[in-house]
């Protein structure tokens, strides 16, 4: 590598670092929402099928387990660690309480930028059927 090329390489690297680091500059400049979104919980309910912290981190795994148990094994009853027995159903258990998808599910999903494929099939409760985030 000659001296002439060194300048080009350094310039190129600098441009790359600036472009690739864009998420960091943008966040540091305060333009990104940094606080966790406010979730609206269903009125009158005090507990979910599992503890809130567990649900926040692992509800996807739980739903996958439920899916395989119900569809493939025919097992429909879930024994919660904290909260008794529940019918394993996104549609009829989860969405029965969390009826407002936009104010609950979509808030975190939009914040972290995930688009779960569930809503193509699983029906959101009618009250908010108009505001599909998908």
């Amino acid at each position: 590598m000659s001296h002439r090329d060194l300048g080009k390489v350094v310039f190129g690297l600098a441009v790359f670092i600036v472009l690739a680091g864009f998420p960091i500059w943008y966040a540091v400049a305060g333009k990104l929402q940094r606080t966790r979104p406010e979730l609206e919980y269903p009125p009158g309910e005090t507990a979910c099928v599992e503890a809130k912290e567990y649900m926040a981190t692992s509800h996807m795994e739980l739903l996958n387990e439920w899916r395989d148990a119900v569809v493939r094994q025919g097992q429909r009853t879930y024994t919660s660690r904290s909260n008794g027995h529940h019918d394993m159903s996104l549609q009829n258990t989860c969405l029965d309480c969390h009826r407002n998808k936009t104010a609950f599910c979509d808030r975190c999903h939009s914040f972290v930028g995930v688009r779960p494929g569930c809503w193509g099939c699983h029906v959101e409760p009618k009250e908010v059927l108009g505001d599909e985030a998908m």
């Binding site: 569809v71 549609q91 099939c121 029906v123 009618k126």
Partner: protein, 253 residues
């Protein structure tokens, strides 16, 4: 060297003999009429009762409403879990030029036969369709890759594929059951979700409500069930019996 070869040949010969003895035993099972433990779901359609109510579609409406099955106008994109076919179409090889007109024009409900030896399960590359212990051929729409091999393999044309997004074509979406999405296969599931709650399949309930009671459902392993008594007392046939699929849907003609 000679001795080794002789021993090898002896060993091979005995092994093959052993295989030959073993294989008939390996093939036995429920499909040969041997009793099995546990539930074995089956359906009996009494077409004599269907004959009295020509034009009735109660079973179809109930099933399609309960399961958010779309109504698609273009017939090549149709999705249907249960529908009516004319007798000669449902039982291709079992009519002849002198078959009675009343039989020829009879429309019978056809659906997934939930075969004992289902070719669709055999060909599925992801086991998205599978056979449960109680005799139902299930469908996992989460796993289906939409290759449609099962549509090719089904000898009864019971399966439908979602060529487009079904949602806009569902007359009244029920919130207690999911829909499917474009690109996956669907078919009758013997109302597994209702059986889990001790209810009969939607078509059975509808046929009772419509007054004909043409469709019965029950456990073949229970000698007192509706289906067992019907099959014991009346002659019944199945669709395409020569193919060896052993359907669980029986027809009384």
């Amino acid at each position: 060297m000679k001795r080794c070869r002789r021993d090898f040949l002896k060993l091979t010969g005995f092994s093959l003999l052993g295989l030959g003895v073993g294989s008939p035993a390996a093939g036995s099972g429920e499909s040969r009429g041997e009793p099995a433990t546990g539930i074995r779901w089956a359906m009996v359609v009494d077409t004599r009762k269907c004959r009295r109510t020509a034009g009735c579609t109660a079973c179809i409406e109930a099933c399609h409403a309960a399961h958010n099955v779309p109504e698609i106008a273009e017939s090549r994109h149709e999705v249907k879990w249960i529908w009516k076919e004319k007798y000669p179409a449902a039982f291709c090889n079992q009519v002849h030029p002198y078959t009675a007109e009343s039989i020829r024009n009879l429309r019978v409900p056809v659906l997934c036969n939930h075969c004992d030896r289902p070719p669709c399960v055999r060909v599925c590359p992801t086991q998205a369709t599978f056979r449960t212990q109680d005799g139902i051929v299930g469908m996992d729409s989460h796993r289906c890759i939409g290759c449609r091999y099962c549509l090719a393999a089904c000898p009864y044309g019971s399966r439908s594929f979602n060529w487009l997004d079904p949602r806009p074509h569902i007359p009244a979406i029920r919130e207690d059951y999911p829909t499917r999405t474009k690109g996956v296969v669907e078919k009758c599931n013997f109302c597994q979700e209702r059986l889990a709650k001790g209810k009969p399949p939607a078509c059975v309930e509808a046929s009772r409500a419509a007054g004909c009671g043409a469709i019965s459902f029950g456990d073949l392993n229970d000698p007192e069930s509706d289906v067992s008594s019907l099959l014991r007392t009346t002659n019944s046939i199945r669709r395409k019996p020569n193919l060896g699929t052993a359907p669980s849907v029986f027809y009384i003609v």
